[in-house]
Symmetry: C2
Subunit: 369 residues, 2 copies
């Protein structure tokens, strides 16, 4: 029988994720599967919680990877906190803010939104005015809006919410591992991420972290969490409880991969990793400018790991991306929503953020355009 896996080619992944994965992470995933209750596996779980806490700069005990992709992380944060009628404010300036709104609405929350132009950041003063008008159980924002390349002022919004009863919930899917996140100092109560962006692990897991205030909110629920699979009160017993009570079978080999990906970041050093992202971002921006390609987002709020660029006049969006993939083995991302056909999204996430990849893309673009 023909085996399709034999045809898989190495692609330089410069889209909005997945990013390039180091061989040591791929090899970690190929280690022998052991039991989810094996003491050797429990030790890996415990160490992984520590890795995540170190990189997020948090003391939160409930800091674990959820068994699903980044969107499962989003789902788990909202479903554990929301009960019918809870007031939620979602700040929207791209696809992932909209997704938060959709998730919270489906769960029966009373959702208000503040919307900002795609490609621009959330305006802190507007948030200040809104939360002065109404008491929210949750204020939610995306740190790195993957659909536009904008960095939102997460620390500044956190300063507004700090000390109140409101739970501050942040989407760190694209930011985690690429730019600084100091969860506790910024007053973030709840955070979720994904593995396939700046952590450079294949997709499949969603690191989350809940502050004591957020855990207390789960415990004060009047109704059971309506999602058994993502019920953190039970998942906590497996990840941190004295008895390690089985909930669902953990995705063992995916967790090996995440352990190794976090190991690599800690080995290289957090600051060095962030600097590598920024250096390569600047290299890319300069190189693109030389060939007449301009950035969508203002320098003041540009993400280093997700570079949205205007598609040059006369270039065929899909044809260029297809040629890059087929002829040059480079993947870049298309625009989403109102930006479809107008921008490309060039990722420099995690392991991808290296000068040789920037050069490779620039060389290819020169040939294709």
């Amino acid at each position: 029988m023909n085996n399709l896996l034999d045809d898989i080619q190495k692609i330089t992944l410069m889209g909005p994720g997945p990013s390039c994965v180091d061989d040591s992470v791929l090899n970690a995933m190929a280690k022998d599967t052991i039991g989810h209750l094996d003491p050797a596996f429990i030790k890996i779980m415990d160490t992984m919680k520590g890795q995540l806490k170190t990189l997020l700069h948090t003391e939160n005990q409930l800091t674990i990877p959820v068994s699903g992709t980044g969107s499962a992380g989003m789902e788990s944060c909202f479903v554990n906190l929301i009960e019918k009628g809870d007031a939620v404010l979602v700040l929207i300036n791209g696809v992932f803010g909209m997704r938060m709104q959709d998730v919270a609405t489906r769960l029966g929350a009373d959702v208000d939104t503040l919307e900002f132009e795609w490609g621009t950041p959330v305006i802190v003063d507007d948030v200040k005015k809104q939360i002065a008008k109404k008491a929210y159980k949750i204020v939610a924002v995306v740190h790195a809006e993957t659909s536009t390349g904008v960095k939102n002022p997460v620390a500044e919004i956190g300063a507004l919410v700090k000390g109140s009863d409101t739970i501050y919930l942040v989407d760190a899917v694209t930011s985690f591992g690429g730019i600084e996140i100091t969860m506790d100092a910024w007053g973030i109560d709840v955070l979720y991420s994904g593995t396939q962006k700046c952590l450079s692990c294949p997709p499949g897991l969603a690191p989350i972290s809940f502050s004591e205030k957020a855990v207390a909110a789960i415990k004060q629920r009047k109704t059971k969490v309506p999602n058994w699979y993502l019920d953190l009160t039970m998942i906590m017993n497996y990840w941190a409880g004295a008895t390690r009570a089985y909930h669902h079978t953990a995705p063992i080999n995916m967790l090996y991969g995440l352990y190794q990906a976090l190991y690599l970041i800690l080995e290289e050093g957090e600051d060095a990793v962030y600097k590598r992202h920024m250096d390569n971002h600047l290299l890319l921006v300069d190189g693109l400018k030389e060939i007449g390609i301009n950035m969508l987002v203002d320098e003041s709020c540009r993400l280093p790991m997700l570079n949205s660029v205007h598609i040059p006049e006369g270039a065929d969006d899909a044809a260029v991306r297809s040629r890059l993939l087929k002829e040059f083995k480079i993947e870049i991302g298309a625009g989403l929503g109102p930006l479809a056909g107008k921008i490309w999204r060039i990722g420099l996430m995690g392991h991808t953020a290296r000068p040789e990849n920037v050069e490779k893309l620039l060389t290819a673009l020169k040939k294709v355009l």
Copy 2:
């Protein structure tokens, strides 16, 4: 830095899952990550749908792996079908029937149960009487009850439900890949499974299949599916839609693993795989009998892949399992719920179901007891 992955030892996994994984499946997971919208990946997805349909003996278009473990499969089946107040009948004779009840109740269903003694099968006549009394939207049963080792009469219950408006929902987590499932012939409308049992892939994915009748039920919902991550109306667009619209980033490398695991089963041949499970089960039962260990479940409804045995008098449950793991690198499972401390659960799932493993366990048990 010390790397915990260096300490992982090869364990013969003879518990209730995960099972032993073939090297080719582990190596598949270590293949280079490619994009979730890459045409090469779409081709793998399409082929995988075919592999699953072949093994489940179904024509269901909606036959895909969900991005989570087996319990996410359970969650996705119930959450897509249930709206508040829907009448659901759950047949319970073990932990996983109870879990179904919990999942459906959290979703606001009007749940009735029929309970049967753990270690015995569901009684078809009782089901017949109950469904004559009340019209149910869903009747749900576990095919292979992993907590007891009992095979439930799935085909016989299906015959009762067939032709009615009721949706017949079957948990095939432990049965799929180890015993025959002819989904369409048996009248199963909705089925979910997991990868870490008889498919012998690491945990992390949940194959599901929905009949046209079940898909129509999703489309007739009055309310949106309250779980964004598992909303099949959107996931279908990615797995089968003409545009392949992005929903969430698929767990690429896990899917490589599942593709390879299904490839191996199809290569060996479905009947040969089932025969291998049965042959090794009989070998194990004989060998256990010789050393005075007796089966919990009557021969008429015993599962070949999950063998529940009475813990011999005088044996220390935890100490024996711990010695098997540490000294002999063999994992077997403990009892759950009312059977904790009373039984061991010996798995012969997928790649584990081989004579050398049976011999290895029997030899070890003789030494330890």
